[in-house]
């Protein structure tokens, strides 16, 4: 079973890698990170002086919303297309005639997309670090920088995994490709909408069940902000561990739901 899942995951990984969406999102992120590093040096210096903390790490907090949202669009598109486009061109039908369980298809696709998103996020973080290193200078403590950036990447990956799981569910539920993508766009609009009106965002943060709201809770725990180098790891984890458990639980729940629904679907 493991080898079947790994074959499907590898196939999905390579298929995703050559999706034109990845190039578009990569270019946008590269522009944003470069602009942030090149143009935001004075702000970084001022903010680090006010907070009395490492400006290099704050440099990552300045782009987390854009990284999260743009990568979220990509994850949503990859998630919905993983099912809908294969169903549209008939390759899913051929795949299902092979001796494998339907849940293996879902798990393989999910793992493949997740692996790709992990590689993509690591490259984005490296690019941002290089730009900051070039324009701002080195971080005060390499150890502090490494653990924070690792956690940042993992949390972002969990957020994107949840988005992928949700949009795969949409892809399974809606047989028409364009209809499925429209539902995904509506869903993304909601994710975006929470952030546009501060009053509504603060209201909605009381019910952080959407991926974006959860991630925001995890990153910005008031004084125990992940991007503030004065925050200790123990203080940060104590504040956010319920949300970390919730996001992991939601990912598993959505994935199980995807497998359950797809295994019982009558057609491909």
């Amino acid at each position: 079973m493991t080898s079947i899942i790994s074959v499907i995951a590898r196939n999905e990984f390579y298929r995703t890698m050559f999706n034109p969406m990845v190039a578009v999102v990569g270019m946008i992120l590269l522009t944003i990170t470069c602009l942030n590093a090149a143009g935001g040096i004075q702000d970084l210096q001022a903010t680090s002086a006010i907070w009395e903390c490492d400006g290099f790490i704050i440099g990552f907090s300045q782009i987390w919303y854009n990284t999260n949202f743009i990568c979220g669009i990509m994850a949503a598109y990859l998630g919905v297309m993983s099912i809908s486009s294969e169903r549209g061109n008939g390759s899913l039908g051929i795949l299902l005639t092979k001796p494998l369980y339907r849940r293996d298809v879902i798990l393989g696709k999910f793992i493949g997309i997740d692996l790709f998103l992990f590689v993509f996020l690591v490259i984005t973080m490296l690019a941002n670090s290089l730009f900051l290193l070039n324009f701002y200078g080195a971080p005060s403590s390499v150890y502090e920088f490494l653990w924070r950036i690792t956690i940042y990447t993992i949390v972002l990956l969990m957020d994107l995994s949840l988005v992928t799981g949700i949009t795969m569910f949409i892809g399974i539920m809606f047989k028409d490709l364009l209809l499925a993508v429209s539902v995904v766009v509506t869903y993304l609009s909601y994710e975006w909408f929470w952030n546009q009106v501060t009053a509504i965002l603060s209201y909605m943060l009381n019910f952080p069940v959407a991926p974006y709201l959860l991630t925001m809770k995890i990153f910005s725990m008031d004084s125990n902000n992940l991007f503030n180098s004065n925050t200790q790891f123990s203080a940060w984890i104590n504040g956010v561990y319920p949300y970390l458990f919730l996001i992991i639980f939601l990912i598993l729940a959505v994935l199980l739901l995807d497998c359950f629904i797809y295994a019982r679907a009558e057609d491909v």
């Binding site: 969406m21 935001g40 743009i70 364009l178």
Partner: protein
């Protein structure tokens, strides 16, 4: 002319019966309900000052209506309508049938643009009516003293929303004509809405001004004047300020509306060129 009217009618009917558009509209009405409920809880808890222009509830609610229609969700509705208009034909291969009929290609694209705009006008009209009904039911008491201010702004809200969302509608039609994969075109349209908002943020403007210090003011002016969000902020500042009469406000906002119209004309011309000159089938 009869051909054009037939195309407009067909486009309108196609959009009304499209499930893609219905999905986004459902999402839109939920957002409107959410806004009205939030206004209601804010007003009933005595925190009316939290609303912008809090001293005049009518203006505050009209401002919220314009922000919902034109800033957050409206452009996405425009993208969806624009993409659906082209995608439906491509998806069902009916565009080939249309192209072999004795019709000029410009009649087809004219019909699509006019039909989509009429549908958009209907959606905005229904949204305004829905929002106003909800506001009257939930916040009628608070609104009573400033109801005239609210109603006098509604035609402006309708017209400005229509023009602004049309930019995204025609833009997404252009993207759909350029990109054959319609699902991808729809997502690219969504990303463009995000980018049009992103380039108006302080992060972008300040960063650009720091990167190109000698052109700092030029960049800020360019962003304020040549993105859909910039002129909209000016319009909202004039239209919903209590001390500025509605006639004076209309004089101030006229140049901003002309800017929006220029955007639409440029995008329409590009749509014509692509549709008439290239192989879209």
């Amino acid at each position: 002319m009869p051909n054009l009217l037939n195309m407009v009618k067909k486009e309108f009917q196609d959009l009304i019966s499209s499930r893609m558009v219905l999905v986004i509209l459902l999402g839109f009405f939920v957002i409107i309900l959410f806004h009205v409920y939030y206004s209601y809880t804010t007003l009933s808890s005595g925190m009316g000052s939290q609303l912008k222009y809090g001293s005049n509830i009518g203006l505050a609610l009209a401002n919220w209506l314009l922000s919902v229609l034109a800033t957050y969700f409206g452009p996405i509705v425009g993208v969806m309508i624009g993409c659906t208009s082209i995608a439906n034909e491509r998806h069902k291969n009916t565009i080939n049938t249309l192209l072999v009929k004795p019709l000029f290609r410009d009649t087809i694209i004219n019909g699509k643009i006019i039909g989509s705009l009429m549908f958009l006008a209907l959606i905005i009209g229904v949204s305004i009516a829905f929002y106003t009904s909800c506001v009257l039911v939930l916040c009628g008491d608070s609104l009573a003293s400033t109801f005239y201010d609210y109603m006098s702004r509604l035609p402006f809200v309708f017209f400005i929303s229509l023009i602004l969302i049309s930019i995204f509608l025609v833009g997404s039609m252009l993207i759909s004509l350029l990109i054959k994969n319609q699902a991808f075109a729809l997502i690219i349209g969504t990303i463009l809405v995000y980018i049009s908002n992103y380039i108006y943020t302080a992060d972008f403007v300040i960063s650009m001004a720091h990167v190109f210090p000698e052109y700092g003011n030029s960049i800020i002016n360019l962003v304020i004047n040549f993105t859909p969000t910039g002129p909209l902020v000016n319009i909202r500042n004039y239209l919903f300020t209590e001390s500025i009469s509605i006639i004076s406000a209309s004089q101030y906002i006229f140049p901003e509306i002309v800017k929006f119209l220029f955007f639409i004309i440029i995008l329409c011309v590009l749509c014509y060129i692509i549709f008439i000159r290239s192989d879209v089938a």
